[in-house]
Amino acid sequence: MRYLRILWEGLIPNNPVFILALGLCSTLAVTLKVENAFFMAVMVGITTIFSSVIVAALRYYIPFRYRLLSYMLIIVTVVIAVEQILRALFPDVARALGPYVGLIVTNCVVMGRLEAYAASHRPGEAFVDALGVAMGYATVLLTIASIREFLGNGTLWGLQVAPDFYIPCRVFNSPPGAFIVFAALLFAVNWLRAFAGRDS
């Protein structure tokens, strides 16, 4: 039950993008296609989970003064390893994601969870928290990507889903389109939160 609550808190009340507003640049950049967003979310998830568990396991040994440096070392190692695997197994996706895979190192979602949660909890709890946050991040990424790909191309994961008479609205393929979709979703989420009686 306790683990379920941790998972839920990572997913909705501590949602990295909508509530904590972390990692926005990569969120807006990779959400052109659902496929890219999915792989980006998976990679951020794997990085968050592995580095959280490692940091939680080493939390009594990591020197306080050098904790950010240690987190960085751990994140860099996980990201490079994951990037190599992605490049070997899915070269097309790796090319589409471009520099954003390497930039996961500086993604605030990962660093934020390490500093805020993993550094002061047991590995099991850190794992569940990271899983929740990763799922929250993935949900947001996939939602934005679905809307952008549908409105901008009339497709979802490369498959034509819009009816023939639909004329794709190309602005959603451009960076301003990402901001428009993100702002609309942020408005909806905040409105729902206010409606549910929670203070934001």
């Binding site: 080493l58 003064r65 050098y66 070392l73 751990i74 490079i80 190599q84 070997a88 090319r95």
Partner: protein
């Protein structure tokens, strides 16, 4: 003072151990999967086209076939492979800065006759309509059987055998191709001569 020093030493020790462990993990990943990551399906197909070899389309089979034909001799931004059946034939995948983004290209070089056999551009993100014409056949074909004993040269009009026509309106991109190939050729010479020395020294 002494306690402070002991604390500092133990902290540094921890950091060193952590850094070593991370480096080891990366080396293991690199050894296990890095070689596959370096060689894309597009690169294997280009190698097949340049050297007129039959390469299967399925990625795993293509990688196996490639490894059968070529042996990796140098890693990094300039990767070199030597043809197993013909030690004088080298395949080179080189990367370098283009006008907007990185250009990756592959060419085959015959060390015996000092000629480039063929060239293909694998990745480029140059200006649409101008620089991106380096990805067209008309540009590649200039490099078929090109003399390259002392490097290649970009010229507005091709006169000598080691010169190629620049793409009109894309001087920086064409210059980038020239630089990448010349740098790769210099590296290839070094690697090939080092390999020759080692082969001669060993009985």
């Amino acid at each position: 003072m002494n306690a402070k020093l002991t604390g500092f030493v133990s902290e540094v020790k921890f950091m060193l151990v952590l850094a070593t462990l991370c480096a080891l993990l990366l080396l293991i990943t690199r050894a296990g999967i890095g070689a596959r990551a370096d060689l894309s399906v597009a690169a294997i197909a280009a190698a097949g086209q340049i050297c007129s070899l039959e390469m299967p389309e399925e990625p795993t089979a293509a990688a196996a076939a490639f490894n059968q034909y070529f042996t990796l001799r140098s890693r990094g931004r300039i990767q070199l492979w030597q043809r197993n059946a013909n030690a004088g034939l080298w395949l080179c995948q080189a990367r370098g800065a283009g006008m907007w983004a990185e250009i990756a290209l592959m060419f085959a070089y015959d060390c015996t006759h000092r000629r480039i056999i063929g060239m293909r551009v694998l990745e480029q993100n140059e200006t649409a309509g101008l620089g991106d014409r380096i990805g067209e056949d008309a540009f590649f074909e200039q490099f078929d059987d090109m003399e390259a004993a002392s490097g290649i040269e970009m010229k507005a009009i091709r006169i000598r055998a080691n010169q190629f026509d620049a793409v009109s309106g894309a001087t920086i991109t064409s210059r980038a191709v020239e630089t990448i190939i010349n740098r790769a050729l210099r590296h290839l010479d070094q690697v090939a001569s080092a390999l020759r020395v080692r082969v001669e020294v060993r009985p």
